[in-house]
């Protein structure tokens, strides 16, 4: 075990969290690294401001090669997850900014990090426990209720490719199957307690600035709305505004039932709202179901993603069942809807491609009992669950026609097939440096209906106010990519930047926070250059895995099939958007960073890494 200072050069080039994590991932792996092997580094990285007064600064990143999106079960792809809660800040107070975990233990272990010290402990007694029990046991053993824990559940232990980390009741580091990377290392948990001071450049001014900004934020309507109903708010607006998923609307004949998943339906179960450390928004419900079949269900959420994933996408419109399944996934340490595999499996069954002989039981839309059993079967790799636990690699064990039920973007499977109506959202998903990810660069404010003047004031150029328009949308995606890269590298939350509101903090506020915290006075172009560097390193990593070119920024064939006659025109328009997008990045017309760009960003060395 070695400890070293984070070199100042890395700070200057990448700030922290996702930035430094990606640099480490690029330098510590190559194209042959097995994501479930000992050489895949599990990298925990705090933002430069994580744990300090700021804008949702409970956030940090966990990064490794993903076992879910590679070209084979043994090859990797870029994997990254941004997570909140309290464990990141606690790591800062323990004196660490990054952890790089390599190798593989022969027995289950967990890390105990406390004030400049790291210890490896036996976790045999924790193996098999769910994420909530694991955290409770570790806290009890530590004798300190303020010990913070991030851990995997049975899904991670069993190398389920949709496994995530959980900290607290529901904060998840998901989306890249990183729970199974920890499972392969037999790393059950990281427990953290820190009581060290953190030095900042201008402490008094920082606290004043934080108080003033927090007050300003908490007076804004979008913050109040999120603090009242949380992300489930999106259910209604997405439906009536037409930018949601088709599944949300409820399938034919069940539209009224789907209303049962609206945000307001959660209020009878809400005990109040909770937040990550120091956040002005309290965006998640603490829930308790007091009566009926699910009586005694306590937890956090469900978020919009779970209402759709465990609810509408499975035609399960029972909000109590969805809430229970949300908690079940969190306890198992697995993404809701097993990352889309549940709806995929039911669709295959209903279409007759697979039958009881494969699945062992009928799989039906809206059958909450089957959904519950199948969720557990996947996490424990029982029966047909073992097939689905392989994520997209389940296709190797399914009829060839099953492939038509998934779309692929840069190796990531997506069960979405509907034609999306928000141009900028589609472009951001297609070009995202984390394959198919919806938040890497989503220009969330595009759906607010801002007039052209307000958009020009924000972006400094014309952007079509129509969500279906094309002009300026490539710029919008590029602009948000850069902003979010800085947001992540600082450890701030994207919900507290220009995502839900044009009035949220962005570069000017980040500059001031950085100055008060570190004494650095970085210009906005300098911050954007750092963001460009981070995004370009990620593009190089995608290239290493064969998915970093123009061909990889296009819509899945199945989307185009569904689009029918509209496809040709849209396809051509998206090609034009890609031209503009690559120019903004100073990449070539094939979407590959040019030597000049690498030189300008000071990352020429990374381009020559093996496999790049």
């Amino acid at each position: 075990m070695a400890q070293e200072e984070v070199p100042m050069e890395w700070r200057q080039k990448f700030l922290g969290a996702r930035g430094i994590n990606m640099f480490l991932l690029a330098t510590l792996t190559d194209a042959t690294t097995n994501p479930l092997g000992p050489d895949n580094p599990l990298i925990v990285g705090l933002g430069l401001l994580t744990g300090l007064p700021g804008f949702g600064t409970g956030r940090f990143n966990i990064t490794a090669l993903s076992p879910a999106t590679g070209s084979t079960p043994y090859s990797g792809n870029i994997g990254d997850s941004n997570v909140g809660g309290h464990v990141g800040p606690e790591l800062k107070y323990a004196g660490f900014d990054h952890l790089v975990i390599r190798g593989q233990s022969s027995v289950p272990v967990y890390l105990v990090v406390a004030n400049d010290n790291i210890e490896i402990r036996d976790a045999s007694h924790l193996w098999g426990k769910d994420t909530w029990e694991t955290q409770q046991i570790i806290k009890r053993e530590s004798g300190d209720e303020r010990t913070r824990v991030i851990c995997i559940g049975p899904a991670g232990e069993n190398l389920v490719r949709m496994a995530c980390f959980i900290t607290g009741l529901k904060d998840a580091a998901g989306g890249s199957g990183l729970g199974s990377v920890a499972g392969a290392k037999r790393l059950k948990a990281i427990a953290v307690r820190g009581t060290k001071d953190v030095s900042v450049a201008y402490p008094k001014e920082l606290v004043e600035y934080f108080s003033e900004q927090t007050k300003r934020l908490m007076s804004q309507k979008w913050v109040k709305a999120l603090g009242y109903l949380g992300t489930p708010l999106r259910m209604t607006a997405a439906k009536v505004g037409g930018w949601g998923e088709a599944a949300e609307f409820g399938v034919e004949g069940r539209v009224e039932e789907a209303e049962g998943l609206n945000a307001e339906k959660l209020l009878p179960y809400s005990l109040g709202m909770s937040a990550c450390l120091g956040c002005a928004i309290h965006c998640r419900h603490r829930h308790l179901i007091k009566e009926g079949r699910y009586a005694g269900t306590r937890g956090e959420g469900p978020e919009y993603g779970a209402l759709v994933g465990q609810g509408a996408a499975l035609r399960n419109y029972d909000i109590e069942s969805v809430t229970y399944l949300n908690d079940l996934c969190n306890r198992l340490g697995m993404e809701v809807n097993a990352g889309g595999m549940l709806s995929f499996a039911i669709e295959l069954f209903e279409s007759g491609l697979i039958g009881i002989e494969e699945t062992g039981r009928p799989l039906k839309w809206g059958d909450r009992d089957t959904i519950e059993v199948l969720t557990q079967d996947i996490a424990y790799r029982r029966g047909f669950g073992d097939v689905l636990a392989e994520g997209k690699f389940a296709l190797d064990r399914l009829p060839p026609e099953a492939r038509r039920y998934l779309g692929f973007i840069k190796g990531a499977a997506t069960s979405r097939r509907e034609w999306k109506t928000v141009t900028s959202f589609v472009l951001s998903q297609l070009t995202a440096s984390l394959p198919a990810h919806v938040y890497r660069s989503r220009p969330g404010i595009d759906i607010l209906g801002l007039p052209a003047g307000a958009l020009k004031a924000l972006y400094g150029r014309y952007v079509d106010p129509d969500i279906k328009g094309y002009q300026g949308k490539a710029f919008m995606v590029w602009w948000h990519e850069l902003l979010y890269a800085i947001c992540d590298a600082l450890g701030c939350c994207r919900f507290l930047t220009v995502f839900n509101s044009p009035h949220a903090p962005q570069y000017e506020e980040y500059r001031e926070l950085l100055r008060l915290t570190t004494g650095w006075d970085l210009s906005i172009p300098k911050l954007q250059e750092i963001a460009e560097r981070i995004y370009t390193v990620e593009r190089l990593l995608l290239g290493r895995f064969g998915v970093g070119m123009r061909k990889d920024d296009r819509m899945p064939e199945i989307w185009l099939e569904v689009a029918g006659s509209e496809a040709a025109e849209s396809k051509a328009k998206f090609e034009e958007l890609l031209d503009e997008y690559y120019q903004l990045h100073s990449w070539d017309q094939n979407g590959i960073p040019t030597p000049e760009t690498l030189e300008r960003l000071g990352i020429v060395d990374l381009a020559s890494l093996k496999g790049t």
């Binding site: 309507k221 109903l229 708010l233 990810h437 919806v438 938040y439 969330g444």
Partner: protein
């Protein structure tokens, strides 16, 4: 006959998000119907108090971005936008996040 025709002119307002907690109602019928968003806000403010206008408008007196006022899937972005008779109007808080990736 005349009465039935009038009834068809009424508009239904469905309310979601923060505004529902202010109005204390999930839906209401306005008859006679307002012809514009401006008139709609006036009518709601008369019935439920000035807080409605404060909630739906920003400091500059324009529609606040935190809300969407929709008719048949179309978002009405300014106070002078027309509202046809007999339609259903949805007023909802807007956020962009909470999505899943698969």
């Amino acid at each position: 006959m005349f009465h039935e025709a009038l009834k068809e002119m009424a508009i239904t307002i469905k309310v979601f998000g923060m505004l529902r907690s202010i109005l204390g109602e999930a839906s209401l019928v306005l008859d006679p119907p307002p012809a514009t968003v401006h008139q709609l806000l006036n009518e709601l403010s008369v019935r439920y108090g000035e807080r409605v206008r404060e909630e739906l408008l920003d400091e500059g007196g324009n529609l606040d971005y935190a809300y969407g006022i929709f008719v048949a899937g179309e978002k009405l972005n300014n106070l002078s936008a027309k509202i046809e008779d007999g339609v259903e109007v949805v007023i909802a808080s807007i956020i962009a996040g909470g999505d899943h990736s698969y």
